[in-house]
């Protein structure tokens, strides 16, 4: 049995959980190979465009910021690649501001940066994005609260039960110790799985720093051991 690496719903240090965390225990359905949750979610509203993975080329000009490549594999818990699955990503700009009306952080918006992208994994489960490094940003969770720089990821997999939404962080961020969202992952070893690794082989000369981050989804049933 895999240990459960996920945060608890109720994490009082993250104030928004207090009225939103379920208070009753979850009910586990008996295993049913026909359960609708096991179907492959067909996410087909629009084909992924050839530039959707490049957040630096969505506007007239280039965004301000440190250009980065973020790449890695989507895998299941048995180490098998998950090919042809949708990966969506969103993030703040280099100043720590989201292009979202709800974000009132008084840092400049960048007219050349929306901060949303998507791609499909290739046959070996690889995804790759080109973007800029997001800035840290303040939030109102507690006095002097700051989120470490992060990129939000949404991944599908091959069964709806594999659905994962998470955040990727950058190595060595001094804000980790103060961030209740990062710290909500109970085991420090599991927290490390949210941190990408600087990778000189992904880094492109005179162009962009490279980071590598693999995403591991739960295994699907119907698979022989």
């Amino acid at each position: 049995m895999h240990d459960d690496p996920h945060p608890h719903y109720l994490t009082p240090s993250y104030g928004s959980t207090v009225l939103r965390a379920p208070s009753q225990s979850l009910v586990r359905p008996a295993f049913d190979p026909e359960a609708i949750e096991l179907v492959d979610p067909v996410y087909g509203h629009q084909p992924v465009g050839s530039l959707d993975h490049d957040l630096t080329r969505q506007h007239e000009g280039e965004p301000i910021g440190e250009r980065i490549v973020v790449t890695g594999k989507v895998l299941d818990t048995r180490g098998r690649a998950v090919p042809n699955t949708l990966v969506e990503l969103w993030q703040a700009n280099a100043t720590g501001r989201y292009a979202h009306p709800v974000d009132q952080h008084p840092a400049p918006l960048d007219p050349n940066f929306t901060g949303a992208g998507r791609c499909l994994t290739d046959a070996e489960g690889n995804y790759r994005f080109v973007t800029i490094k997001p800035g840290a940003y303040p939030w109102r969770n507690h006095h002097n609260a700051w989120r470490p720089a992060h990129i939000h990821f949404s991944v599908f997999g091959t069964a709806f039960t594999q659905r994962l939404v998470t955040q990727m962080y950058f190595p060595g961020d001094p804000l980790f110790a103060y961030d209740p969202i990062f710290q909500s992952v109970p085991d420090p070893k599991d927290r490390e799985r949210l941190v990408c690794a600087f990778d000189m082989d992904v880094t492109e000369p005179e162009w962009a720093l490279g980071y590598r981050w693999d995403i591991v989804l739960g295994a699907t049933p119907f698979e022989e051991e």
């Binding site: 009225l19 586990r28 295994a219």
Partner: protein, 154 residues
């Protein structure tokens, strides 16, 4: 080994919702139904920044809640139930539930009779069903545990 979940946060709006997301089947689909409702928190207040996803064989829908916590899908009538997945700020991992269009199904028999009705959508007009989601407290929706479920051999 698994990558831990983190909250979707409040700022997914320019990335995840898309215009056709709530309209899973065309209006003239012979089995089209409307599935709608409100998401409320433990104080009974609307959850205005939730993102709901539904999945049926060959179909997928996504709908963000409005300021009053409401959502509305047009989808195909399911054989038995529609899986519903809810993401939101304050949810460090999503909650899973099911909107049943019948009150007779094997899984429902497994659920505390006092809470069973939270899984059953109520008719609210012609080919329209209301399915409210209460995150916490009185009338709390039954949420499902899929941990390990997808991988019984592990």
């Amino acid at each position: 080994m698994l990558t831990p979940s983190q909250t979707v946060g409040p700022f997914y709006g320019h990335a995840l919702p898309y215009a056709e997301g709530p309209f899973v089947v065309p209006e003239d689909h012979p089995d089209a139904i409307e599935l709608h409702g409100r998401v409320t928190d433990g104080a009974g207040e609307p959850v205005p920044d939730a993102l709901l996803e539904i999945c049926q064989p060959g179909l997928f829908g996504r709908c963000a809640t409005e300021a009053d916590g409401s959502y509305r899908f047009r989808t195909a009538r399911p054989d038995v139930y529609i899986p519903v997945l809810v993401f939101a700020r304050g949810l460090l991992k999503p909650v899973w539930t099911r909107a049943y269009l019948t009150d007779e199904a094997p899984f429902l028999a497994q659920v505390d009779p006092l809470r069973r009705s939270t899984l059953v959508a109520s008719p609210s007009g012609e080919r329209s069903y209301r399915f409210d989601i209460r995150m916490q407290g009185e009338g709390e929706t039954v949420f499902l545990d899929h941990a390990g479920y997808a991988d019984p051999a592990s």
